[in-house]
Amino acid sequence: MTTIKKVPISNFASNDQLGLIAYSLNNILRVFNTKTSTFINIDATKQHQEAIKSIEFSKDGTHLITSSNDKTIKVWNTTDLSCINSIDTPKKISSAQLTLDNKSVVIADKAGDVYIYNLDDTKEKLEKDKKDVEDGEEKNLLLGHFSSITDMIFSDCHKYILTADRDEKVRVSKYPHAFDIESFCLGHTQFVSKLLIKNDILLTGSGDGTIKVWKWKDGQLLQSINMFDKIKNEAPEPAAVLTTIPLYISNDRVYVYVEEHSTLFTFKYANNVIDESSFSSIQLESSPLAVQAVDSGNVLLVSLWATTDTTPLVVAIDTAKSVVIPDHSLAKTLNEKTEVPALGDKELKELFDTTLQSQFKKYSGLSERKKIHMENKNKDDQPEAPLKLRKMTTEGAAEVSK
């Protein structure tokens, strides 16, 4: 898949109680009220400038937080979708989360640092804090990886914060005492793509083609599912790097997506164990991009990359039967009513290249290069002569200069 025909829905979020579904098309945030079946008006001047990277409702549903490639975080009030706060960040954002009290926002960036900003602070103070960060001050710094952060989530109890990085690691830090590391989840052999948490259990996807199940608090690996085996029927010769992304976990099912495959994979899940034999796949019109459970988890909305002009934006899946529901009313409404921003081929290509999933290509490309480098190096090293070294001393230096 190298081209797309129209702007897809890249992020989803929903709140069943309020009956709101929020989603993004490129830089545009849209919020649909399922109770009144209308869109909520959002001030066009307040929209992000560049593609939105994440949308999330606060735990109590009063706030909505969006992050974007334009290096800003916006916090919205869910009653009238007014923009309460807009924060510029110094670096590109990987993930943004509201704290439990909705008073602060925690931002993980691509440089590997996680900062916390207080939303009650005045704009001037936030600006100053931001500038201090640029100057190397660290007072808002919560934690940091020596690698790019790919995803960050809070545990359900909000007492821990989990961060994943390009160097295969998942770190579990206490919150708010994030200087105290509880554990590391180590087992992936490629960058970690996504974190999905349900109580004590963590699901991770990675460029190594596996989905792993962890007891995150102890860093204990419970299960590893190799998706290479599962896609054999579809693609006899899969790519060397396969990025898996866990999409959704319900009480009894897990949904997984393998990058660039137009299939949604699903497993039965019970007592913290994924039943590998229960594997089934749902064939879609094109590759899925984002999912969101609605209707108390009975229905899964799946957005698709539009590879043809007729590809729908969204399809609905019955989570109990694992089949596509044809003509699902909500999916139908969204498909019909959503105004898709018109973009030229060049912009569409750019959008495709900068969207989350494609970002992983960069990482896998890097690891590929690393591998090739290692292989070449090992070849060169074969007839290794014993290396005789001695340290450079001041006398030695004088000797050499003579």
Partner: protein, 271 residues
């Protein structure tokens, strides 16, 4: 940094505590000074993706090639001392006798230096088969891969000797001590474990001191009695190649020791 003069010893005596057996073969090689042998970069960019072989997790690490004899005698032992940025191995080698019951690991990022230390240890073991069995070296980026080698709370001591100062402000992120990396060092250190650091660059020393002092899981050891009775202190001051280089030019050195504590200290951050 009001504590600078009161708490920290300014070391000026140049008596070397280690007369290593390695000086001799080096002396012989000195006749043949071939440039490429000397040309080892003093600096390394820890942020660049280098080719490292590292275990996926501590479970997957096989230490037996590193400590063949020692692990045969004490199969239950684990590495308890890490010399981060061990350089030419001066400290690692001298710790072998000072801490005979503990497994000591030198970690270094520069390929050729690691090979040098490796050879040095092999030769020392050949010479005295019963000694130097508890030390080893490996090439790694300690800023990235410490949790791949060590379990939580595995280390009793961790050393940072004369690290790269990275003077440029833009490169401060590459310094071996930072508040975020200290959290990782606290993770691998056992409660009560000690972190030693020393530098001949005042600016860097103050930087390291500031970050240790600001980390809630570290507490400075200020009791001179404890410091004087610690056999590692003279070694960090004089045993490493870098330390002896400083001695030759009569340079100053600053050091401090911090303890890993379990209950976070309350630190008032002055904004």
């Amino acid at each position: 940094m009001e504590t600078e003069t009161s708490n920290n010893t300014n070391v000026e005596d140049t008596t070397s505590t280690t007369t290593t057996a390695t000086d001799k073969p080096q002396q012989q090689k000195r006749k043949k000074a071939i440039k490429p042998y000397h040309r080892i970069k003093a600096h390394s960019n820890p942020l660049s993706d280098n080719d490292f072989n590292y275990p996926v997790s501590p479970d997957k690490m096989d230490w037996s090639p590193h400590y063949p004899q020692f692990l045969k005698d004490h199969p239950e032992k684990r590495v308890e001392v890490a010399d981060v940025g061990c350089g030419y191995g001066g400290l690692t080698v001298s710790l072998s006798a000072a801490l005979p019951d503990q497994m000591i690991l030198g970690m270094e990022i520069r390929d050729k230096v690691v090979q040098y230390v490796d050879e040095r240890i092999v030769k020392l073991r050949e010479k005295e088969t019963d000694k130097y069995q508890n030390i080893s070296v490996l090439k790694t980026n300690a800023m990235k891969y410490l949790p791949n080698y060590f379990y939580k709370g595995q280390l009793q001591k961790i050393f940072f000797l004369f690290p790269d100062p990275h003077f440029k402000k833009a490169n401060h992120k590459r310094r071996i001590i930072s508040s975020t990396l200290l959290s990782e060092y606290a993770y691998v250190l056992a409660p009560g474990g000690l972190a030693y650091f020393i530098s001949d660059v005042e600016e860097l020393y103050l930087w390291m001191y500031k970050h240790f002092a600001a980390h809630p899981l570290f507490e400075q050891i200020e009791d001179q009695q404890i410091l004087l009775s610690d056999p590692c202190i003279p070694l960090i001051i004089n045993s490493s190649e870098e330390a002896r280089k400083v001695n030759r030019i009569d340079g100053k050195k600053w050091y401090a020791v911090f303890r890993r504590i379990t209950e976070p200290r309350i630190i008032n951050k002055t904004n």
